[in-house]
């Protein structure tokens, strides 16, 4: 990277908090957003962590620092959009305000936008299908726009008047880290001065749920959302959207923006494997590469936000990789799983977890995992039902996806 890339703003809507402050308090107290599905006939009856009801205008009125004209423009851009787009719009606007881009602006063509995620409109398209079979002429006129993943980028750019480089990036459940890494590169290369990295909300369609059930990934009825615990029962789908504003240090200096963290290193790699199978070697490789690119030794890492989703194969592979990278140290890092609280938010997961990591670095705690009572591994410092107060400087956030996508992002408190 040409110069430091800083985190100058964050936003999140999630099952455990619809803004940054509520989300941070929920992390500290280990509040879980897991519940049961209300429509078992269509969707099955497994656990899930749905997004609470979201009213676009009401959510934006919480962004009180924005002027009324801006809020109205943002509402107008997204009020006809499907829920996932409205969710990212709220998270992006929160991050925009948190970064002070409304008060101390940056030229529109020097701001970029990368949305991490793909197959984001499957539930929307599925919902249109019964109506389409009855009368195809009544398909919503906005379908051609709304069915494209890129509508997320388009709508945010119109709402926030972003004119720099923008696109979606996809890497299965590592899409959030792909967005952070792509955004960091755009800033580092000087293509833009500021870049929003967005983790897009995924709402599973019934087909998606059945597909995950068929590969034995999804938690069944009665199963707990318990990554790293012997009682784990598979992954629990969650719904969240998050946004991190990355900014060149010289730009943040110029406009007097404060940063809670630096995105100090990253790595992303392929396992050369199209299956839904984890790979210890690949996971070790991205963690050690992220560390070496940042010039940080494994012994300096205070905290790891593990990818662990609660599937035995995935959890065990990551624990083995963590043992390889950190296990020989005298002071291994604290490890927890934000998925124990918000569940697996797929495309959004790694951005949600980056936000959680920065909050923990900033506030000096490691959030609890209330469902971790019987750990599958005891060689690492796993956090159980109580939060741990600790000064944290370096935090590593892992994200792995079906098809061999492995990634790790290093965040350092500033």
């Amino acid at each position: 990277m040409a110069g430091p890339v800083l985190v100058t703003g964050m936003g999140v809507v999630s099952p455990i908090g619809m803004d940054l402050t509520t989300f941070a308090a929920a992390l500290l107290h280990g509040r879980s957003g897991v519940t049961r599905l209300s429509d078992p006939a269509v969707l099955g009856d497994g656990p899930v962590a749905p997004l609470p009801p979201l009213d676009l205008a009401a959510s934006l009125s919480e962004c009180a620092a924005l002027d009324r004209e801006s809020r109205e423009r943002i509402v107008r851009a997204g009020r006809r959009s499907p829920l996932p787009v409205r969710a990212v719009l709220v998270a992006a606007t929160q991050a925009w305000q948190d970064a002070g881009l409304h008060a101390r602006p940056v030229a529109a063509d020097r701001i970029g936008l990368v949305v991490g995620g793909h197959n984001l409109t499957a539930a929307y398209a599925f919902d249109q299908y019964p109506g389409f079979l009855r009368e195809r002429a009544y398909l919503p006129a906005r379908y051609a726009l709304h069915v494209q993943d890129t509508d997320h980028v388009a709508t945010i750019s119109q709402a926030l008047r972003i004119h720099g480089e923008g696109c979606t990036v996809g890497a299965s459940s590592a899409s959030g880290n792909a967005a952070l890494i792509h955004a960091a590169r755009l800033v580092g290369a000087g293509a833009v001065d500021v870049c929003l990295a967005v983790g897009a909300m995924v709402r599973l369609s019934p087909l998606d749920r059945q597909g995950l059930t068929a590969v034995e990934a999804l938690a069944a009825s009665g199963a707990a959302c318990a990554p790293l615990d012997r009682g784990r029962g598979g992954l629990v789908p969650g719904e969240a959207a998050a946004c991190v504003v990355l900014e060149a240090a010289r730009c943040a200096d110029r406009r007097g923006a404060t940063a809670d963290a630096e995105l100090s290193g990253y790595a992303m790699a392929l396992d050369g494997n199209a299956l839904a199978a984890p790979c210890v070697e690949g996971e070790v490789r991205v963690m050690t590469t992220a560390l070496s690119r940042a010039g940080i030794d494994a012994s300096q890492i205070d905290y790891v936000s593990a990818h662990v989703t609660g599937t035995p194969a995935g959890d065990d592979a990551e624990l083995a990789a963590l043992d390889r990278v950190f296990g020989l140290g005298t002071r291994p890092p604290w490890v927890n799983a934000t998925k124990a609280l918000v569940s697996h938010c797929f495309s959004a997961a790694a951005v949600v977890e980056a936000v959680a990591t920065v909050i923990q670095l900033r506030d000096g705690f490691v959030h609890p995992n209330p469902t971790l009572t019987d750990p599958v591994d005891t060689s690492l410092r796993l956090v159980g039902s109580s939060p741990v107060r600790a000064p944290l400087t370096h935090g590593l956030s892992n994200a792995f996806g079906f098809g061999g996508f492995t990634s790790s992002v290093l965040l350092t408190r500033t």
């Binding site: 006809r80 009368e135 002429a137 009544y138 398909l139 006129a141 726009l145």
Partner: protein, 82 residues
């Protein structure tokens, strides 16, 4: 009968405009103006037309809307198919 039909179609158009452009006051929706005058962009206009067709339970070939310039012409075209 004709006036009643006109009112029924206009009411459906007003409902569709209200759904897509909720900031407008529907009591004063002018028939002589265009949807663009009201602040509708191209996709808003297409959505209003689709919603009005669904409201009236009719279908109008897309090509016929190419000649429609204002709200009065839209109401007339929808009436023809109602």
């Amino acid at each position: 009968m004709d006036a009643m039909e006109q009112d029924r179609v206009l009411a459906a158009v007003r409902r569709s405009v209200a759904e897509v452009l909720p900031e407008l006051n529907m009591a004063t929706l002018p028939v002589e103006g265009t949807l663009s005058d009201l602040g509708a962009n191209s996709i808003d206009r297409a959505e209003i037309v689709t919603l009005a067709m669904e409201d009236l339970a009719i279908t109008v070939p897309v090509v016929e809307f190419q000649q429609v310039q204002d709200i009065a012409a839209l109401v007339n075209l929808l009436r023809k198919h109602a």
